[in-house]
Symmetry: C2
Subunit: 384 residues, 2 copies
C-alpha cells in the first residue's frame, strides 16, 4: 500500500518538531528510478501557497526525484520569505540525498495559512527523514502528512507486474479546516511524463475534482504522480489510466469519509443533463447548499431544497420536468410532489441524491458531506 | 410604521388556520388610491413558486390594488394545482373586496416547499382578512407573514408630506430554512409605475441583493412597492429613490439581524476593486465561505480564509497586493502577515471584514451571518 507499494520508491515519515504536539509532521518520498517521470495537478485557487508555486515550476521539467511534504503549516500567504523557505527545503533535500537537483524536488505543505515554517526544525528534520528512508516507509509517510485527518489514507491498484500506489491527506478537495488535500501517487510502470500527465488529469477530473465537502477551495492542493519504471513494463495507456483513476477514486472516497465533523457521505448523481458541464454545475450547486446539507444531517429527505439549488444554475432544464430521488425514492416528479417521502430510509452514512434534468444524456457524480454542529465546532476553534 | 404608515393603504393580519400552531398566517394589504401604481422584483431562481409566476404577470400591468400574503406554505413545486390555487386566491380577494380585478391582485406565499396550501382554510381566511382591514393594520400584517422570524420587521422613511413604509419577513434574501423573503413597501407619494420600478430596482440592487445569510436562494422571494398617490405630492425622483433605498436598507439589516441561528452580523466591504461587479463577486465569495463563517462564530480573525475565498474569484487582483482588515485591524498586508491578530476585538455582534483588492476604485458591501451549531440544529429539523 501507499507510495512504496510500487517498486523503485523509498519513503519516510518522521517528527521534526514542526507540530507542537510532537506528532509526525515531515514526509519524504524518493524515486530511485531508473525513470524519474512525473506529472502534477494543483489548486486552481489564485492565492497559491509557496510550495505550490515552487512545485508547479518543478513539474514543468517533467522529472521529479523526490517529494518532501510537511504538515503543521501551509506556508501560504507568507510572502517572499515563505518562497525562500520552500526553496531552501528543496535545496536541503537535494544536498542530503546527494546527486539530486533542487529543481527536481517537489515540495508540499499543509496546515495553517499565514504562518512561516520553523526552518530551524524543518531542515534538521530532512536529515532525519533521509536517514529513515525505506522501501517499506509508505505508511509512515502517509501518517506524517495528517492534520485534522482521523486516519491516514492509502490505496493501491495495478496490472500484471506493475502497480500504482498512493497516499492522501485532507478531508475534501475543497479544504475543510484548511486541511489541504495533498496526494502523492507512485508507479513502477515505465511511463513517460506526457502519458503520466494525461492519465493524472483524466483521473483527477472525475475524482478529486468532484469531491466537494464544504465548498471551500484550498491554497495548497497538490496531486503528484511519480513513475520509477522499475517494473520494466509499459502498460497499455487505457489500463494504466484506469489504475490511476481507481487509486484516485479510492483516496477521494476516503477523504469524504473522513471529512471534518461529517456524519453523512452524500453521493449526488445528476442524470439526463444536456452536457457534462451542466451535470457538474448542478451537482456542485446541490453539494454546496447548506440547507440541504443540514436537512440530510437531520435525516430529512427535503427535496424542495434540491430543486431550489438546481434553480440557481444555468443548466438546461424545465422546472416542471425535474425529478429528484433520495435513496432511490422519487420524492419529486415533474417538479412537484412524487412518491411518499416517508419511504426514504436515511439511517445509513451514505445518502444518494439523484437529480434528473430530463434534458439530455450526460451525467456526473459529485460527493459531498452533510453540515453538522461538529463541523461548526471544529472549524470555529481551529486556529484559536 | 409598516405598510399603513403611508396614506391610502389599509391592511390586516389574521389567523386562517394554515399554520397548525394557530398563529397569524394571512396578511392583506389594500391600496385605496387614488393611484394604484406598482413595481416588483422577484427571485432569480429558475424554480419559481406559483405565487411568483402569478405576481410577475400581475406586475407587468403596472397596477396592483391588493397584495395577499400567506405564511405556512410556500406553494412552490406544487404543479398546475398550485398555480390554480394562487389564481383562486387572487380571484377570492377581488370578489370579496368588490370592484377589484384578480389581475391586479398580487399573491405571495412562504413556508415549506412541495406542499399544497389548505384552500379550505385560506379562502374563508380572506373574508376574515377583508373584514379586519384597517388603516392601522400594518403591524398585524407584518406579524402574519412571519415563519421562523423571531420578530416582525417594519421600517419607514419619507420627505415633506409623503412617506414610504414597509414590512418584511425572512432571514436573508437567500433563504435560510426556506424562510422566503417577502417584502411589501407602500408610499402615498404620487409616482407612476416606471418611476416606482426604477427606484425599487436601484434600491434592491444594493440592499436585499447584497444580503447573503447562507448562500441559499429561495423560490419565493418577492419585493413589491405600491403607490397610492394619497399625499398628492410627487417628490423629486432622487429624494424618492433615496427614501425607498433607506427603507429597503433598514429592512435588509433587520433580516440579517434575525437570521436563523446566527450570532454575528458580518459586514463585508470590498474596496479598491476594478469594477463594482468584481467587488460584489469577491464579497459574495467571502460571504459564502463556510470556514470563515465558522471562524467568525468562534471569534477567530482567520484572514487566511478570507484570502482563500478571494482566490476563487475571477476579479482583478494580484495575490501579493491583497490587504484584509478585520474590525479595522489590517491583519493581512500585501498578501501576507500584517498587524497582530490579537488586536482584533470580536466581542460584538457586528464584525467588519474589509478586503482591499488594490486594483481600482470601486467598492461594495455585502452582509452575511456566521455559521453556528444553532443554524444546523434549526435547519436539520425544519420539516421533520
Amino acid at each position: 500500500m501507499s507510495v512504496t507499494a510500487a517498486q523503485g520508491f523509498s519513503a519516510a515519515g518522521i517528527a521534526a518538531g514542526i507540530k507542537e504536539s510532537g506528532n509526525p509532521d515531515l514526509a519524504l518520498v524518493v524515486n530511485n528510478g531508473p525513470r524519474r517521470a512525473a506529472a502534477g495537478v494543483f489548486t486552481s485557487n489564485r492565492v497559491k501557497a509557496a510550495p505550490v508555486l515552487w512545485s508547479e515550476q518543478v513539474l514543468k521539467g517533467g522529472e521529479v526525484t523526490a517529494v518532501v511534504l510537511n504538515s503543521g503549516g501551509a506556508n501560504a500567504c507568507t510572502g517572499p520569505q515563505g518562497f525562500q523557505d520552500t526553496h531552501a527545503t528543496a535545496e536541503k533535500v537535494a544536498e542530503v540525498l546527494e546527486g539530486h537537483s533542487a529543481g527536481e524536488v517537489a515540495v508540499a505543505s499543509t496546515g495553517l495559512i499565514g504562518i512561516l515554517l520553523p526552518m530551524d526544525k524543518l531542515l534538521p528534520g530532512i536529515e532525519q527523514a533521509v536517514a529513515a528512508l525505506s522501501e517499506h516507509g509508505g505508511e509512515k509517510a502517509a501518517i506524517a502528512i495528517k492534520t485534522t485527518d482521523s486516519v491516514h489514507k492509502t490505496a493501491v491498484a495495478g496490472g500484471d507486474g506493475w502497480t500504482v500506489g498512493g497516499m492522501a491527506k485532507g478531508a475534501g478537495m475543497l479544504a475543510p479546516g484548511l486541511a489541504t488535500m495533498l496526494v502523492v501517487l507512485t508507479t513502477d510502470a515505465d511511463v513517460e511524463a506526457p502519458a503520466l500527465d494525461a492519465a493524472l488529469r483524466d483521473a483527477t477530473r472525475t475524482t478529486f475534482d468532484r469531491v466537494d465537502s464544504d465548498g471551500c477551495m484550498s491554497t495548497n492542493d497538490t496531486v503528484l504522480l511519480l513513475a520509477s519504471g522499475a517494473s520494466g513494463i509499459t502498460p497499455e495507456q487505457g489500463a494504466f489510466a484506469e489504475a490511476v483513476r481507481a487509486v484516485c477514486d479510492d483516496l477521494a472516497r476516503q477523504l469524504i469519509g473522513d471529512a471534518e465533523g461529517a456524519s453523512k457521505d452524500i453521493r449526488i448523481e445528476v442524470i439526463n443533463a444536456a452536457t457534462e458541464d451542466d451535470a457538474v454545475e448542478v451537482g456542485r450547486s446541490i453539494a454546496r447548499n447548506n440547507l440541504l446539507k443540514c436537512a440530510i444531517h437531520g435525516g430529512d429527505p427535503n427535496w424542495g431544497r434540491v430543486l431550489s439549488a438546481i434553480g440557481t444554475t444555468k443548466a438546461a432544464f424545465e422546472p416542471d420536468q425535474l425529478n429528484v430521488a433520495i435513496n432511490d425514492v422519487w420524492v419529486c416528479k415533474n417538479g412537484g410532489v412524487g412518491e411518499d417521502r416517508d419511504l426514504v430510509d436515511m439511517r445509513y452514512r451514505e445518502v444518494k441524491v439523484t437529480a434528473d434534468l430530463a434534458a439530455g444524456t450526460e451525467s456526473a457524480v459529485i460527493w459531498a458531506n452533510d453540515l453538522t454542529a461538529d463541523y461548526v465546532h471544529e472549524n470555529s476553534a481551529y486556529s484559536s
